[in-house]
Symmetry: D3
């Protein structure tokens, strides 16, 4: 703990996740003054037919 | 926000998700009196070897 | 399963949750053609200092 | 309810999940004195590029 | 990782959680053959007006 | 979407959450090249009797 979970539309690259995980961890370490070892980051990549905004699937919104 | 997450056995069609996302959003808009734009719906489709009820995998229950 | 989870700003009444739980369950029963007994709904009420949009806490946005 | 969710690095076998689901359910039934029918277990199998510890992806840690 | 999350009706004692956390961790260590240090357990205690089954709040079911 | 969720031991101040929410959002906007409006951050503050590591409650570990 802390455990950071990021739900996002699929399609982000491994390099993007690598950078996001590193920077988010650095932020938490700096602001909470804790060891980096305690921070876990998880990504969930979601297809566009599994997300809806305002009642419409991302698939139908062309996202 | 609100964020609605639905964990379910995989196999629902896109058309079913489309309808569920629409109707759930309509319900929340009506009851909470908020704009539809604020409502996000996420689906997680889970294989039958990743769900257990009463200690038995859905896979073993023939579901 | 399905398990429906709703994260929302705190302040909804029990009567609103009662209605939302009933209508969402009805939608899922109708669209997925399953028994209502299989549907669980959970609410998480979140204070305005625990939600941020566009990098700003709801607390600071006056929400 | 209770709903038990296990997020884990992918690669566990169905037989391992079968045993974990059974034993966790038994523990909850015994300690909480409730019927097994009320206990749901869900697994999320996560690829090593979607987990980071101390700011580094499991992929980069050779896990 | 693994991260085990247990959502449950509020009212379990600390002693019950202590025992459940210990036994679930032991199960995972034994079946997955990993170090106990890697296992995190989280509990979410939910009031009876925030859970519904079959479209009815636990509050209204007398639970 | 993306939705960032941070589960953490309770006790962080609003000012710490304000800063974490801002910096995490900035990171995501920069790396994913998306509008800040699309990013939601949620915090869950957990008491020390609801977290266990290596089978021991944080409460019992003096955390």
């Amino acid at each position: 703990m802390p455990i950071v979970t990021i739900r996002q539309l699929e399609g982000r690259t491994v390099e993007q996740k690598r950078q996001v995980a590193k920077e988010i961890t650095n932020t938490i370490v700096k602001v909470y003054k804790i060891d980096a070892d305690r921070v876990t980051v998880n990504f969930f990549d979601m297809p566009n037919y599994n997300i809806a905004k305002a009642g419409k699937l991302f698939l139908d919104l062309g996202l």
